[in-house]
């Protein structure tokens, strides 16, 4: 073998020679599992009867893997695995901290719920187009983005999830979908190109792409490098991906066109990847620059919240209304990022996790409402309360949750954020969060009053039943939101640990460089 001729001391600088405990394989398991299953599902895509039987247990397995990873991270702190033994800056490292593990687990739960809902929502033709393979490849991309510790690798996972999402959004190839997909594709490609440019500048400045390495070098390089420009390119790229105010027109233009499960998964997962990347890069890697831009991010956050809430109020199509509610949520998370303090960041993480669950549930709920009522438009939709009291209860719970009212999961992070706003001295931000919450409540109430309470002109309503493929994921997600709302302490403690790890990433750095970071 070639390696035997090189002295061991030289080898130890570039490679790790320690053996890897089996538990550390959980770090890489979620994306590998998704890609492998995606490949198997493509190979068996002609066997329509097999697809669901393979996909649903595999998604359940993914949730178990994700939960195991979170447990391991809570037990041991951040875990690192270097690909192919090569140490950074030569090789790619996957480093999982509580933030990444939490996002990853929530994404897994959302994917499982979406997969079950797809059994009813995605018909045979669309499954033949490859719904489940695309779902696995997209979730693989999402979890890879949450778990990687290398910024160029993060870009690669962005591309993986983006390409799979193109496949999902045009499932069925309807005219309207192609129109929505074009807007979605072009604006997202511009966003990822900006991200790539930023990564290029960053590599020129730092000479490394490893996140821990960057975090260690950023404080000393601040004076001699164009850090503010670099940060602005990163912020713009991630804001486009997250659908923040001036660069979010692609979201309401495209999210109502795909199948409802696809729209729900996009709303739950994809915008949150943008928020996650913004938190990871700006809060953990470039905190000084994030601090300098906090006013800018704060103003964008406020505008995003207000335009999202006003947009939701103006829409008659329930799916479009939800698209704007996604945007409002993004604004709330951005507000938290702009404060920068630990309570605010932990509230932002909490809100992001809540939003992944609740936005997916809202889309699924609207899907059921649309099936029962025969329309997504509030002009035509009526009498749903008489049709299905169960759906109405779920709808009410989810509307409460998205508006940030107790006792659901949206309440706690919002309350924490408003408190953080006043502590931070940004009382106007706190006011904007409250006003946007009020506007969202009004929009949700209007939808409920028209679609559910209003009786149809004919005066008679046929009762309708929810299918098992609708009821199981919807009730599970709603109960999860209620559970988090009633007993928020465990998640709150986790979010606080995660936020502390982002603001003070010594444990993260130690996980990648046990002997201390190499000096440049």
């Amino acid at each position: 073998m070639a390696t035997s001729s090189i002295p061991l001391e030289a080898l130890e600088k570039s490679m790790t020679l320690a053996s890897v405990p089996a538990a550390h394989w959980l770090v890489i398991a979620p994306p590998v599992w998704c890609l492998l299953l995606g490949a198997i599902l493509i190979m068996t895509r002609k066997r329509m009867d097999l697809q669901a039987w393979l996909a649903i247990p595999a998604l359940a397995g993914l949730v178990l893997i994700d939960a195991g990873l979170l447990a391991a991270v809570i037990r041991e702190g951040p875990i690192t695995m270097v690909m192919g033994r090569w140490l950074p800056p030569f090789g790619i490292a996957f480093t999982v901290d509580p933030t990444g593990a939490l996002f990853n687990l929530t994404a897994g739960i959302a994917a499982l719920a979406g997969g079950i809902a797809a059994l009813g929502d995605i018909d045979r033709t669309r499954r033949a187009y490859g719904f489940f393979p695309f779902l696995f490849l997209m979730v693989g991309g999402v979890s890879g983005a949450f778990l990687t510790g290398d910024i160029f690798n993060l870009y690669v996972w962005f591309e993986v999830l983006l390409i799979s999402s193109f496949g999902l959004i045009i499932l069925g190839s309807e005219r309207e979908q192609l129109d929505g997909a074009t807007k979605y594709a072009i604006l997202n490609l511009i966003g990822t190109t900006l991200f790539l440019i930023a990564v290029g500048i960053l590599y020129a400045v730092f000479g490394t792409l490893n996140m821990a390495d960057i975090a260690a070098r950023a404080p000393t390089l601040g004076a001699s490098a164009p850090m503010m420009t670099l940060s602005l390119v990163f912020i713009t790229a991630f804001l486009m991906k997250a659908a923040a105010f001036p660069v979010n027109s692609w979201l309401p233009a495209s999210y109502h066109t795909p199948r409802i499960v696809v729209a729900g998964l996009f709303a739950g997962l994809l915008t949150k990847v943008g928020v996650y990347a913004l938190i990871r890069v700006m809060v953990m890697l470039l905190p000084q620059e994030a601090n300098a831009y906090s006013t800018l991010i704060g103003v964008i956050a406020a505008l995003t919240m207000i335009t999202g809430a006003l947009g939701a109020l103006a829409q008659a199509d329930l799916r479009r209304m939800l698209g704007y509610m996604v945007i409002t949520g993004i604004g709330i998370m951005l507000a938290g990022i702009s404060f920068g303090a630990q309570t605010a960041i932990s509230a932002t993480l909490f809100y992001a996790l809540h939003s992944m669950i609740v936005m997916l549930a809202l889309y699924l709920m609207v899907g059921v409402a649309g099936r029962m009522g025969g329309s997504f438009s509030l002009h035509d939709l009526s009498g749903l309360y008489a049709k299905s009291p169960l759906l109405s209860a779920i709808a009410l719970a989810l509307f409460f949750s998205v508006s940030g009212l107790p006792p659901f999961s949206g309440f706690w992070p919002k309350a924490m954020l408003i408190k953080a706003a006043f502590d931070f001295g940004a009382w106007w931000q706190g006011a904007v969060i409250l006003v946007s919450g009020l506007l969202t409540t009004i929009a949700a109430t209007r939808a409920f009053a028209l679609g559910w309470w209003r009786m149809p002109a004919s005066g008679t309503v046929e009762p309708a039943r929810m299918l098992a493929s609708e009821l199981i994921p919807l009730s599970a997600l709603t109960l999860l939101s209620l559970g988090i709302g009633l007993y928020p302490e465990p998640l709150l403690a986790l979010a606080q640990t995660a936020a502390a790890g982002l603001l003070e990433p010594t444990a993260y750095l130690h996980s990648v460089f046990p002997q201390g970071a190499p000096t440049p």
Partner: protein
């Protein structure tokens, strides 16, 4: 106008007797060459990506000469299935490391003696074969879709 019975105006330029006779041999030669390029790629220029492109060009040539359905019959598997098998092979190449207690994607080698010759087999080779299949399958699928006409 059309005496051959198969061609349309767009196709006529390619539809010569010489091309149709030569294309299967050319395709066979190119596929063989693509495998050669794939296998020499570990230490010398070449590898899975470029090998896959050569193989995909070979199938594209056959498609132009003999029609898309002939290529689909000759390939036996659907091109997308070939690409998926490649993705699975590449993922499995990384998972082999699990059983050797080393990190994901670590290069592992064995040197079995087959018929008196030492053959170097490794996980990077399996990964490269996976890349080869992904590129061959994906590009062939695109090429065949572009060559396909209503009458094929």
């Amino acid at each position: 106008m059309d005496t051959s019975g198969t061609g349309r105006s767009a196709r006529r330029g390619m539809d010569t007797l010489i091309f149709r006779t030569m294309a299967p041999y050319l395709t066979a030669l190119m596929v063989l060459f693509s495998v050669f390029v794939l296998l020499r790629g570990h230490n010398e220029p070449g590898g899975g990506f470029i090998g896959g492109l050569i193989a995909a060009s070979a199938f594209a040539i056959l498609g132009i000469a003999s029609g898309v359905s002939a290529v689909r019959r000759a390939l036996w598997f659907d091109p997308i299935t070939i690409a998926a098998a490649g993705l699975a092979a590449s993922a499995l190449a990384g998972i082999v490391s699990l059983f050797a207690d080393v990190p994901f994607m670590t290069a592992l080698w064995v040197f079995p003696n087959i018929f008196g010759t030492e053959v170097a087999l490794s996980t990077p080779m399996l990964f490269d074969i996976g890349v080869y299949l992904v590129v061959t399958g994906a590009i062939t699928a695109i090429a065949l879709a572009l060559e396909e006409r209503e009458d094929d």
